[in-house]
Symmetry: C2
């Protein structure tokens, strides 16, 4: 298969971790005789620094013409602490999601047997957790009109949803549930929000089309608690943009490190693959950022194109690195000095030579 | 002291738990020679059933003329599952918060030594956690304009904040931090929301007035993770209405049961005290609802009026009930059949006779 992949390393530790994912994809291409072409583009704070624009025209062109986008991370503390900045790194990511129509963000939360003791949660609580979060990604309060009064004393954001925006992702979530444990949990705040009531109404209306799927309805405050108390109750979680942002980052505590969570952002025409972690500015350029989220995002990319054996090999490599403690310090208490690059190298070696790779 | 207390038991298990708090307050009045008058009012689904209105005029009058309001719980599954209902129980609670101007909701999250093993989190992670959440309660997306298009295909909610709404609660949060560990964490989503940027700007502007307080800024997604990974990093958390709702219910996992979390809702003229849990419809009328959140809310009521010795005695009674396992099934694995009423009776007995109370 031939794939043109746009690579957007972005900010902070983004470039380091993305480099490992590219390394892994190159090894896969070699091993399976695919042709993957990688072209880099600027985005985020890095793009602002170099072009004044968090999402330069060329980057958008690149992504629109690529078969898939591999995204690193975005954000920078100096912008975070400057609420007056009019141009912000995140506009790059949000602009890209919107322009490419990536309305469905899929975030798997899977507890690794070997990492159960790394979690803040008790082992027996999280064992066998396997959740798929379907987060709506191009609507809601992220994209509704934002206003700041002229005197700067009043600010507002609109959370708006249209029925079709809910329907299209809900169908995907129902279908995902059908191929899993046939449970869908809608998370909203329908006891307070009109937009949440639209979500609930639409999901209730679609449910009869999926009679084999059991639907639960949870309020976001309750869901934030249940996710920790009893994560195993969940199979597929469907939710709007902001609640999905919160729940998916919260869910990282189950897995033991946010450096493990990958995601796929899918639209009708385009697809982007991104770790759910941020730029991790304070860990950048130290070789300590965990590349696994980025590498697993690459695995999701492969799966998106039906390259299941290829993806399985990547996942095996990741499993093996975890089993042998070839992991960055967020997970590793056994060995020192296992760097971002070293983890990438290990998984690359494994792909080249699945039967022989060990700690080297 | 003479206090007129409006009692709003509300829905589900609200009446059961509130009855225990009233019992405890009566014991305190007796012991310390206070005069507490209790008058009940209707609210929520119960009020809709009886009057058609979730917040009847008489209830509002009652609360406006009371020195304090003791609130039970609100909500009903049949409304939760009916997104088309125009009249909803929650309108009672939200209407009351707004009418009484209760803009500051204070939610303490304190890990009980004896309950550390009840939490889903590992003991060493949560030991000594002591957080005060300052949640804005009368603004934001809860109260902004809500629209549903005529064809029912589009719905929206506005999240709006004015500078003064942020300033008044921020001052209170800063002051609370000064009397504690001098750490304030603002939780927002300033990388995306205009309203969050106003929060961040205002807090940054006020910070120099509190030079002894260290201020941290966290995005809500990150905070939802950090609260679980490392709750001890937090002292006072300040946040807007919706994020506060989510974080405070999530925080219940630290304490071991949502049935333990009390809150005070304070305005310029009025004050209301409410457990943070909901109506717990499926546990209602079974004697299994934990009354401690309601009883601790009564303790916060006493503190609000400077009755610190009285509050301390209530807290001692709660501590003792926990130590002796006189607790409802959410916490109790030692004894069966410790009902809601039995817990209330125990704490009442303790107040009457602090030196002699034991399991009877
Ligand atoms: C960087 C930020 C804008 C982004 C979001 O809020 O969507 C991130 O937190 C994420 O989850 O992908
Ligand atoms: C019942 C509901 C409207 C309420 C809220 O969302 O504020 C509750 O969850 C709370 O936290 O007090």
């Amino acid at each position: 298969m031939k794939l043109n992949i746009a690579v957007l390393p972005g900010d902070g530790a983004g470039p380091e971790v993305t480099a490992q994912a590219v390394k892994v994809l190159k090894a896969i291409a070699m091993e399976f005789n695919h042709v993957f072409n990688f072209t880099e583009g600027l985005i985020g704070a890095t793009a602002i620094n170099q072009t004044g624009n968090p999402l330069p025209e060329e980057t958008l062109d690149l992504c629109e013409n690529a078969d898939a986008v591999l995204f690193g991370a975005i954000g920078n503390t100096s912008y975070d602490l400057d609420p007056n900045a009019k141009i912000r790194p995140e506009q790059g990511l949000l602009g890209l999601r919107k322009s490419l129509g990536l309305y469905t963000n899929i975030r798997p939360v899977i507890a690794y047997e070997e990492l159960l003791n790394k979690s803040s949660l008790k082992k027996k609580q999280i064992k066998d957790t396997n959740i798929l979060i379907y987060r709506e990604l191009t609507g809601g309060i992220y994209f509704g009109e934002k206003l700041l009064s002229d005197d700067g004393n009043k600010a507002s954001d609109i959370c708006e949803y249209n029925r079709f925006e809910i329907e299209r992702i809900a169908h995907l979530a129902f279908k995902a549930a059908q191929s899993r444990k046939r449970k869908l949990a809608l998370v909203d705040k329908a006891n307070v929000l009109e937009s949440s009531r639209l979500w609930r109404r639409v999901v209730q209306e679609l449910a009869p089309q999926y009679p084999d799927v059991t639907v639960d309805y949870l309020f976001i405050d309750n869901a934030a608690m249940e996710l920790i108390i009893n994560p195993r109750q969940f199979d597929v979680i469907l939710t709007e943009n902001m609640f999905g942002d919160i729940l998916s980052e919260e869910a990282s505590v189950i897995v033991g490190s946010i450096g493990l969570l990958a995601s796929a952002s899918i639209g009708e025409k385009h697809a982007m693959f991104e770790p759910i972690h941020g730029a991790y500015t304070k860990g950048a350029n130290k070789g300590i950022a965990n590349p696994i989220a980025s590498i697993l995002s690459a695995a999701m990319l492969l799966e998106h194109f039906g390259l299941d054996d290829e993806a399985a090999l990547v996942r095996e490599g990741v499993d093996k690195s975890i089993k042998l403690h070839i992991t960055t310090p967020d997970l590793n208490t056994k060995y020192d000095h296992i760097t971002t690059t070293k983890v990438g190298d290990f998984i690359e070696d494994f792909i080249n030579n699945p039967d022989e790779t060990n700690l080297n």
